[in-house]
């Protein structure tokens, strides 16, 4: 009732916002644009066009003042926590802030933080000219000096490599096999990363041109002489090895070989210990699997990896599972069993398992509900009129 009152009041205010009279609005969450003001003052005079100003600019003095305040605050914080002000690192600061201002919010960006101003305020260009007002950079008048100087530099390296090739051709040594730059372990920097590197905005067209020019450099056979220049604009990829990660094969006291693996599906997590005993017993959370999974479908899911490799009676399973429902627990267990089985199998059998999809974790999770709909996909009743 109160909420609907507030909404109607808000609508009323919204309509009156266009007129030139104001209220001292108490319910400010309804419209943030209209500012608190005394009665009978026209708001049209004071309203700022917030969109036209662009991103906020900070002067160098302001940033320096912020850095000073940060350093002083860091020392105060160290004193408060009873630690050494000289050796107070950023991790200590984060820890102290989390202790002094505990926050129940989930959004990390909404939690209180104390970081060096360099990390908070976006990097900006300092003034580009000196005392005599002559600009520092020779391409200043193009507007995009860093980008064009990068293109200029790239073209210079192309010319250098061409000259090198011409010299080799004159000596007749051009057709020797040359080491090529290995490009498989890295990728080009994205547009955003390049913008951050150059501290300048680039359009997609410019970015494509840059990649084309780099491609032209790499097309030359002797480009390995300028490898260092090329690698500056490439990002190393994390090691993507085609090999499957398999759990280690351990031996317990008694000489029995066993391996442990974990699996997840939807919200269930489980861990499985696969023992090479010779019996076919399966224990889940202390219970027998017939009791834990009365339904045949779940037990079939458990047995599928063993049946696929033809080792049904050989292994002993000891499982711990929690979370989720009946079917998702069964799926998690199946994945864990397949992974644990890898250490007992050959390469060919491992490949077969991979092809069968036993080693792929199922990425399907519950889809979120969207506003304006009943559920994730279900819509409200459609009325023709």
């Amino acid at each position: 009732m109160a909420a609907s009152c507030a909404r109607t009041v808000g609508l009323f205010f919204g309509k009156c916002g266009n007129c030139s009279w104001n209220f001292n609005i108490v319910t400010s969450q309804l419209s943030r644009q209209v500012q608190r003001r005394q009665i009978c003052v026209s708001s049209a005079l004071h309203r700022k066009n917030l969109a036209a100003a662009g991103p906020e600019k900070f002067t160098m003095e302001f940033i320096e003042k912020q850095i000073e305040e940060f350093n002083i605050g860091k020392r105060h914080l160290a004193n408060m926590m009873g630690e050494d002000p000289e050796n107070f690192t950023q991790e200590d600061i984060d820890r102290s802030i989390a202790y002094l201002f505990p926050s129940g919010l989930f959004e990390k960006k909404a939690q209180p933080l104390m970081k060096h101003p360099e990390e908070i305020f976006p990097k900006q260009r300092a003034v580009q000219w000196g005392e005599d007002r002559r600009p520092f950079h020779f391409l200043f008048y193009t507007g995009k000096q860093s980008y064009y100087s990068l293109m200029h530099e790239t073209y210079s390296t192309i010319l250098k490599v061409e000259k090198h090739q011409d010299r080799l051709r004159a000596k007749g040594l051009l057709n020797q096999d040359v080491k090529q730059i290995s490009l498989s372990t890295s990728r080009w920097l994205t547009k955003e990363e390049l913008e951050a590197l150059l501290v300048e905005t680039i359009s997609t067209h410019d970015y494509d041109r840059f990649l084309q020019l780099m491609g032209r450099l790499l097309a030359m056979p002797h480009c390995a002489t300028e490898e260092e220049f090329v690698l500056r604009y490439r990002q190393q990829l994390e090691g993507q090895s085609p090999k499957q990660m398999m759990p280690a094969l351990e031996r317990d006291d008694g000489g029995v070989a066993f391996s442990t693996a974990e699996g997840r599906r939807k919200t269930s997590t489980c861990s499985v210990v696969l023992r090479d005993c010779g019996s076919g017993r399966v224990t889940i959370n202390g219970q027998d699997y017939l009791h834990y999974f009365p339904v045949l479908q779940d037990r079939a899911q458990l047995m599928f990896p063993l049946q696929f490799n033809g080792v049904l009676g050989r292994f002993d399973l000891e499982c711990q599972v929690s979370g989720g429902g009946r079917s998702s627990q069964a799926g998690a267990l199946r994945l864990a069993i397949s992974r644990a089985l890898l250490s007992f199998l050959s390469e060919g059998e491992m490949e077969n398992m991979r092809q069968a999809g036993l080693l792929t974790s199922d990425p399907r999770v519950t889809e979120r509900k969207k506003p304006g709909q009943e559920g994730a996909r279900k819509k409200f009743t459609w009325k023709k009129r």
Binding site: V127, F138, L139, Y141, G143, H152
Partner: protein
Amino acid sequence: MAARALTKGLLGLRHSRAVTVGYSSVGHQYTTAASTESPQQPARDVTEEILNRSLEKPDFFRVSEFFSLKDLFNARVHLGHKKGCRHRLMEPYLYGCRLDHDIIDLDQTVEHLQLALNFTAHVAYRGGIILFVSRRRQFCHLVESTAKDCGEYAHTRYWQGGLLTNGPVQYGPGVRLPDLIIFLSTLNNVFQQHVGIRDAAKMNIPTVGVVDSNCNPSLVTYPVPGNDDTPAAMELYCRLFKMTIKRAKDKRKQMELLYSLSAPSTPSS
């Protein structure tokens, strides 16, 4: 016209514009009233002396020594485009037409080039900002390297609309626009006149331009009729402009040293 442009350039380049007229009268008095002068006065007088010295001789920087007609001929500067591409306003600068190819009159080119180089040298001598512009993709790297070597500026890329006319918004408040723009090719990639010529004329910035037989020389302050397509010709122009600018800057440093050595002696007398 050249003298007017020079004086306009003078007034434009001096920072303390309002005080120049007043100071010339005070300058005669300072030899007698030595005790009452401020410490900035000797510096200003030295600067004035240096600047006035450069205007005494017609070819103070001896730019005519840099090139001869033979050099221009060897660099194929006289080769124009075909008769069909000829611009009506370039007809006075052409020597003739042979087998449909226009030949540019190198005598006129020599005069125009000397005027242009002299003007460039004077601008560089006074610490002016020089901007090299060319929209030829072939020579973009050459022009940028030339500008970098001289310590001046270059723009051989896509010309955004408001670079000169909307300077404070584009670059930031308080920007200093170029004092001279040198067009090593007045046409853009679509064979139309470069926007920079019109913008420089709007902003009262003098221009030096190499005009080929298909270009419009009307808005260029110091047109230099010559070939802008051959690499040899472009390398020649770049070399000439680089030499003049370097010589002018060296001369300025020389004069400053000379006068700063001799200046302390005069006030104390």
